[in-house]
Amino acid sequence: MFKKGLTRRDFVKAGLLTAAATGLGAGVLKPTGLWAAEAKIKGPVKVGYQAILSGTLAGYGEFHKMGVDMAVEEINAAGGIGGAKLEVEFRDSTLKNPEAIKNARYFVDSWGADFLAGVDSSGQALALAPVMAQLDKPLMVTHAATEKLTEQEVFKNGVKQIFRICTPTYQDGNAAAFVAKDLPAMKWATISPKYEYGYTCWGMFKDTLGKLKPGTEFVAESWAPFGTTDFRAHINTIMDANPDGLYSVEWAGELITMMKQADQAGLFKKIKHVMLPVGAAMDVLEGLGAEMPDNIWISGRYFFLYPDNPKNNEWVAAFQKRWKHYPAYVSETGYSSIYAFKAAVEAAGSKDTKAVIEALEGMEFDSPAGKRVFRKEDHQAMYSVPWGLTKADPKYPFKIMGKMVVIPPEECFNRPPFEGAASMPPFKS
């Protein structure tokens, strides 16, 4: 283990720097086609991917892996990244910060990763920020949603190595408010996870909806600790407050449990407007099947029926063929994260960190979820994910989105400098 000395890698690094310098020297000429590919990228492109592969959320790791594996197979079959072979290694992130940090260090320092991707937990993403600055390799976050990562760590602390390809809490909080303002509901309540994610999303939802539709009341909050299996007391709390609408960022298995128990308690008969920002996750839709009521507002980080264009439809078909499964949103973000690296490396003509970061900043690329642009200031991918109303469809064994509403990210994502009311929606322009 000790033999893998610094010297060799330093040597390689030096070589890469020279290569990058030559690339820059070649001027503003945009490298195109095979020339760029064959001339620049040396050795395999290695991506270290970590996701949760154990415990109650292990299913998410499996979904990540499906998307990523597919991207790797496709890319390598088509000649790799700029002619170089793509290699991906997976590790279990668990939920503990030290494990995520150890994985990142292993990938970069021991395995020799050029890029990192994955990460489910917000706490882990935040903990990884200083580590990525030290390791100096780009990290593409594919699931963790905390806005602090991009606002605080990337924008304010200048950890430029971090990018996020999935939608953050803005989609769950702000976008939901834009949808909610057009609903005939004036009193809202929530059952949400008793941790930062729940508090933040509900906070954003309240804040934005309050501005969009003054007079809206927020009448009850019931917080469910991580791992709750019995939501009946929470459901009672909400029904006592008699709201018009229920907003809930419960997710994964807990959302399934909550929905079943709410249905049994007759909640959907009393409360007509229900918004589930992560309800469009495949595990939730499939887990609930026909038990998911109709006319519930759901969204996610991606939904496989949007956008309805050839690229997405072909991808979904290919995914289904490969895995006998519809793609979950983490499958898409995982898949696209690999393609984002591919696009950036090929644009930069190098896998050198600095060059790739520069290429990623402001980069526009096409993905199954539609066109994505990495915002220069905070490295957040700007793309739209629909909000939709659930409905049954004979083609699918689960509920899908019927009517869809798309809130453009420019309209509902917080903006730099992330300070003061002007940074938060609604925006004047």
């Binding site: 154990s54 292990a58 299913g59 499996e62 006592d240 308690a265």
Partner: protein
């Protein structure tokens, strides 16, 4: 307000009875064998998975799954006791706890490998999918069923321990192992029997959880085992009567807490647990030593 109170009560009672179903096996095993079984949560999980698999095989017949699933888990319990646990009874506490802890890790991962890491939404029970109207609000029929099963299990255990020959032997062995052995009871066989029976109770809890929680996940046993520990402790370790009461208290406390103290948390439950351990470690029904 009254309807709310009634429903908070009902939610608490059903939750309490649900925890009792799992805690009863844990308590029985501790009472007789003196081993606090971390793997009891795994038996709960295995019970749920076996029950789910069997019911899907038999065209969603929940009752058939519930009858057969826990029996399969009993076989697992038998192996655990007969070939592993038996050899650590005489050892210090850490060895016993860590042995059962090792099984938690192993079973969690085996389930992940065999059934996949994702969560499985489980079907509802035919005839119990709906709800009944109580005090102007709906309450799930299946929760009522759980509330009925809990006391039935308690009654059954009581009858078995107090009125049957096997029960007398179990009580004798739990109060004095040497004495029972001197009276000609085959203590090792008895221990295996009690462990397997306790396993069955835990697995039944898991089977009944399939429609109650509505979800199966690998690692689902780790949450419930802490609840069951708390209940077993505040009832006085090894006391079935105490565990029954403890389960009711925890169920009602968390239900009322969630409703009326918004900041309510497991903090209060653990304070209760510590308080009982400090001032009445023998539980509600135990004699002061």
């Amino acid at each position: 307000m009254l309807e709310s109170l009634i429903h908070v009560c009902l939610a608490g009672l059903s939750k309490g009875m649900f925890i009792w179903l799992v805690a009863s096996g844990l308590t029985l095993i501790f009472g007789v064998l003196g081993v606090l079984n971390f793997a009891h949560g795994s038996f709960y999980m295995l019970g749920a998975y076996f029950c789910y698999t069997l019911l899907s095989m038999f065209s969603d017949n929940f009752w058939l799954g519930l009858a057969l699933g826990p029996l399969c888990v009993c076989a697992v319990g038998f192996v655990v006791e007969r070939f592993f646990l038996r050899y650590v009874y005489h050892l210090h506490l850490p060895y016993q706890l860590l042995l059962t802890f090792a099984f938690v890790i192993i079973f969690d991962n085996l389930v992940k490998i065999l059934w996949g890491g994702g969560s499985i939404g489980s079907p509802t029970v035919t005839g119990m999918a709906g709800s009944v109207s109580i005090a102007g609000r709906l309450f799930p029929t299946y929760s009522l069923f759980i509330m009925a099963v809990g006391p039935l299990v308690a009654l059954g255990l009581w009858l078995m321990l107090e009125k049957t020959w096997a029960g007398r032997i179990i009580r004798a062995a739990s109060s004095d192992r040497e004495m029972a052995s001197a009276l000609g009871v085959r203590v090792p066989a008895l221990y295996t029997g009690v462990f397997v029976f306790g396993t069955w109770l835990g697995a039944m809890g898991g089977g009944l959880a399939v429609p109650y929680v509505g979800l199966l996940t690998p690692g689902m046993g780790e949450g419930i085992i802490i609840d069951a520990f708390v209940v077993a402790v505040i009832g006085g370790l090894g006391s079935l009567k105490g565990a029954f009461l403890g389960a009711l208290i925890i169920g009602l406390l968390s239900s009322f807490g969630t409703r009326f103290i918004p900041s309510f948390d497991m903090f209060l439950i653990f304070i209760l647990m510590a308080g009982v351990l400090l001032w009445r470690p023998q539980g509600f029904f135990g004699e002061a030593s």
